[in-house]
Amino acid sequence: MSTDLASSFFDNFTWIGKYWPMILGGFWTTLQLLFFSLLLGYPLAILVGFGRVSKNKFIYGLATGFVSVIRGTPLLVQLFILYFGLGSLFPAIPHIRQSFIWPVLKDGYYYVILALVLSVGGYVGEIMRGALLSVPRGELEAGRAYGFHGFSLVRRIWLPRAMQAMMPTFAGETVLCLKSTALAYLVSVQDLLGQINIIRSREAITYTPLLVVAVGYLLATLVIEAVFRRFEANFAKTTRPA
């Protein structure tokens, strides 16, 4: 019985020989999506976080509305609205198909990145808010008392201090983003999971292709965690163990 299970579980791995270029291509796409989403998403998150603690009513309202929509609706719905909704408005613009931005506007790839950037902005932005509020008031006051204000207060004291507090959640949010890239196949961008799903249904095998996905994601996760561990260790040296 156990051999039976094992054999059906590890259907077989022979398909890898045939498909490895597809798999690597998909993985590369996944990594690209992740990279650009983070590159633009984290800065957006910082802005959103500060917007959420802003005393300016307009900025606060804007940030709050943004966070509430992004966190309040499924990423899938957001992606569809961007791609099929927003995206289908463009072809109506005259001459746009001949213009140089058409390749960008018609490519699902950029819509996935846009959706993920907004998503990271919303979710991490809200964590940012909590971290900003947890910075001891006295240290901010000391900053103000010495003439830090506005951007300099943020850059030198408030932000680095808040970043420390949210350090341990970064890795998790980044991995969440990694897994969210898997929605890309819906708008015809073939990421790792997309390619694997093609293989799975073409070969009628279930588990081993998914194991390959798991290994791919695991490798990426290990790298992500290792990177953030280093940041965290840097942070740990400023505090005493309890």
């Binding site: 039976d4 579980f9 499924p74 969440l176 798991a214």
Partner: protein, 239 residues
């Protein structure tokens, strides 16, 4: 034309898709709550293991959260539900009993709980690391320890640090509950996709689905705001 679209959409809802959405809503909510609570319990234990456990347990806990965060949920549910079922079938057959079914709902709940637990453990661990050390020392100095120390001092102090991360988790489990589709249950998103596919009214049904989720999270937000205000009552407002 837009009018007829809207009318057609309402006709579809009235024709039965409305009921389907209600059923989907119920599954989404039940599964999310169940998975979230399971996740918090697992996350709490694992966070504790990471912070206080012996070295081997720390390694184990780290391995758990790395793997469970990295592996796609769909693989876990396939393994737990189908491969697990297969193993169980074999086992029952070998000891001479008939097949026993694994319930898809609880399998999905477990998978969500296990994945959420991995994220929650990191959030909770981070919150503990950010605690003001002096106040914990004070509690220890007065003889507090173990659960009392945790409940009376550590927990209330760490909640402000963990809160945003934990509400994020709640928001995402509401949507991740779509996972249960693989084992034959239709929650909100898969109901919307089914309705969209069957009626070809993609946009209307997806927007409708988005609206329901939005209502759901706004409803959650009422509670989140209340709790947030309560846990921040002892912090002076930023000047």
């Amino acid at each position: 034309m837009a009018e007829t679209d809207v009318e057609a959409f309402w006709d579809q809802l009235a024709a039965g898709w409305g009921t389907a959405f209600l059923a989907g809503l119920r599954i989404t909510v039940e599964l999310s709550i169940g998975g979230y609570i399971t996740g918090l319990l697992i996350g709490g234990l694992v966070a504790w293991a990471k912070l206080r456990g012996p070295r081997w347990l720390v390694a184990l806990a780290n391995g758990y959260s790395t793997i469970c965060r990295a592996v796609p949920e769909v693989l876990m549910i396939l393994i737990l539900y189908y491969a697990g079922q297969q193993a169980l079938n074999g086992l029952m057959a070998s000891i001479g009993f008939g097949a026993v079914g694994i319930d898809g709902f609880y399998a999905a709940l477990m998978v969500l709980g296990i994945v959420q637990g991995a994220y929650a453990s990191e959030i909770l661990r981070g919150a503990v690391l950010a605690l003001p050390k002096g106040q914990i020392e004070a509690a220890k100095a007065y003889g507090m320890h173990g659960f009392v120390l945790f409940r009376r001092v550590i927990l209330p102090l760490m909640v402000p640090f963990a809160f945003a991360g934990l509400t994020n988790l709640w928001m995402s489990i509401l949507k991740d509950s779509a996972l249960i589709f693989v084992v034959g249950y239709k929650e909100l998103i898969s109901t919307a996709m089914a309705a969209a596919g069957s009626t070809r009214m993609y946009f209307s049904f997806l927007l409708f689905c988005g609206a329901i989720f939005y209502a759901l999270t706004q409803f959650s937000n009422i509670f989140i705001k209340l709790i947030d205000g309560h846990i921040r009552r002892w912090m002076p407002r930023l000047g």
